[in-house]
Symmetry: C3
């Protein structure tokens, strides 16, 4: 039995194995030979979700696994009555064979060990979002042929955006060079400094300023855009908020083979005018890969 | 691929075709020969619903189509994080073969074109509710044999009640004469005038006053009652609120063959004492027809 | 057609019959021979739930009965628009073959008679929770061999905790001697007196004080712990709140064959340090029995 709580839970070999499964799903979807089985799953979400919950539930119906769904778990479950994460996992795991869990309290992942069935981290606050990293990685491989030695630029909310935290680790493992361009919000001196707690061996480049980004674009293989997590920064003055924006002008500085990703939802950091550019993978290929990735991940964890 | 966003999206011929399908469902239900298939659907609701969401989800389970459900979509989806309707439709339509959508912002229907799969309007604010009109129409035909040349009286919330907006158009197409009796709320001089934006060729009768209704009842073939949409008028002074009420006394003025409809939920505009009158179709036959109509509609849109 | 609204809805003979069904489910689970059928069910919850809703939905998927789920029914259904319980039951029962219903308004059970299909009470405010009583009773029988003539101590929230209300009746029917130890909150003179409205023939012992509990522990066969329903007492001063707590010291006073139950969720009335004691049935055997009980109950009510 195996949980998927952080991207490091899978070795490089396991990720390769899952990628093979994704390839197969991608070829077969929507047809599949799965028979009705005795499995069941729970999706337990305490923060809003469109892509993650909907694609997991679609993945489960594709695999003929019935799902018990909770889209407002902190309001509609016994968490509301003061039940602990420990008791929650012990209970849920007696009704299901898989738990897909999202909650704003980062610490919940420490209690997943009390589950008797595999737990997938669908987001823990500003912590991690490992299934997003997995699908991003698969998309990069699909678009560029391989993941190694790429020049990556990650823009936006590096401190609170959990998708980036999981992705950076696995890109660094693949010897990618990572440039970052944080929203100006986090550069202002009155704000706490950014600390990603990453070992220096991850080969981090110093972050660049928003007005410097254009100088680097021609060398970038992977442009990873993220929104600012406004819902997590209400305590700050958003007057200091600024970000690099991709639009018809700036996209022209990117090389022809660059791949543009975004975990979505987007706000204004990518202009809709570039959606149809062939390098824009975020609103179609990346989303669809997310579905295939989650199907393959469930197949791997449940051996079904 | 076809959306169903407003009642005019179907020609008279298409409506006749769907009516034939409804007849068949009505005969077969609950048995059906549908096999497990590869389809899936999403119900995405950002306003309360009992009949519409529950009957659509029952229709989908009857057709063996698994459903991903959201009953509080504005709170539990990425709309909450500022995602646009455009991106929402593009995303959802990659996980499903059909989207049933309700949202309080009337303008969402303009973005349904970004979906890659059929979208059914399950209510857009005070705009339209075309599946309600379709089931109302089918119920009228079932009860009276045909829809043409009827005398129709519509009482209640003509301005904010979306069910009426869709229904009036299709009744007018069938050469029905339409009388309206708005809640007094909208008659008071301090309130904005009613504007339904309907062409005068629809043969509108001037609206009648609440205290005049009884004079007309003996000529009415179809009495369509609606509640006042209190949740949409908090800015007004509800002190001016009054309405025609159907009870044991007033029902006696209706002819024997009259059919009484209500989209439900009702508040006080129909007294419970008339529920068992054979002319009252609203709490049993109209509800059940709603289920059959939605099954047939899905069959038509997905050709399944 | 039969509802299950209070524990008295089943005779002793019917309970024995259901217990036989539970035994069979317990032996078979998770495998089952149920075929896809034409049934459908609704779970309609207007208060938070983890065990009840999730186990019912798992029970339904085990029985291959598709479910339409509502975990926030007072916010997301037409109850929000002022629809009555009567109209709600009449509507829901036209879309389903079974309704599992929870609502904070105790009085809803009076309207279940308007349903055309069986209604299961999954909790009515501080009223009753008969499926919890049924699973508790089954667990007692499993743990102790039989239910008759036991010494029972029930601690915690006897006034507002609905699980106790249903359980006490059926324990008394089995000639159990019932001791109670209410939270001190309800003993304080400024609070309203406890009234459980039980006939004196139920053999009630006078309730004991928190500091007296330890003197009785060695004679107890069944220790039933409950939390204080804080969400139902916001009008009171919780400064007077105190309760008997089971921990490593107090558990040592219990006899070896005692069974410790808790409907969950727990707050602090049972220390986690006693979870692994073999007498602690609450966090594994009681939960699992809850699932089997609900499967058997549905089989009994729907004869499927």
């Amino acid at each position: 039995m195996k949980n998927f709580l952080k991207i490091e839970d899978f070795s490089k070999e396991e990720i390769d194995l899952i990628f093979e499964k994704i390839d197969k799903v991608k070829k077969d979807y929507p047809s599949n030979k799965n028979q009705q089985n005795n499995l069941s799953a729970i999706t337990f979400f305490s923060e809003p979700s469109t892509r993650t919950r909907f694609s997991f539930e679609r993945a489960l119906s594709y695999l003929k696994i019935p799902v018990i769904s909770s889209s407002d778990a902190s309001g509609s479950s016994s968490l509301k009555k003061g039940e602990s994460f420990k008791d929650t996992f012990r209970t849920l795991s007696q009704y299901s064979d898989l738990i897909v869990f999202r909650h704003f309290d980062e610490k919940w992942v420490e209690y997943a060990k009390y589950s008797r069935v595999p737990v997938i981290n669908a987001g823990n606050g500003s912590g991690e979002h490992p299934t997003q990293a997995l699908l991003d990685l698969y998309t990069i491989k699909s678009e560029l042929g391989n993941i190694e030695n790429k020049n990556v630029l990650i823009c936006g909310d590096l401190k609170l955006g959990r998708t980036v935290h999981s992705l950076i680790k696995v890109l660094a493992q693949n010897n990618c060079k990572i440039l970052t361009c944080p929203s100006i919000l986090y550069k202002h001196e009155s704000l706490p400094p950014i600390s990603l707690d990453l070992p220096s061996s991850y080969g981090f480049y110093p972050s660049i300023k928003i007005n410097e980004v254009e100088d680097y674009l021609e060398d970038i293989d992977i442009l990873y855009m993220t929104r600012t997590q406004k819902e997590r920064i209400d305590e700050y003055n958003t007057a200091f908020f600024d970000f690099f924006k991709l639009d018809n002008r700036t996209i022209n500085k990117l090389k022809d083979k660059c791949v543009i990703l975004h975990p979505l939802p987007r706000n204004e950091e990518i202009s809709e005018e570039v959606d149809d550019d062939p390098r824009s993978a975020y609103h179609e290929r990346q989303i669809k890969n997310g579905l295939y990735t989650r199907i393959a991940l469930i197949q791997y964890l449940l051996q079904c």
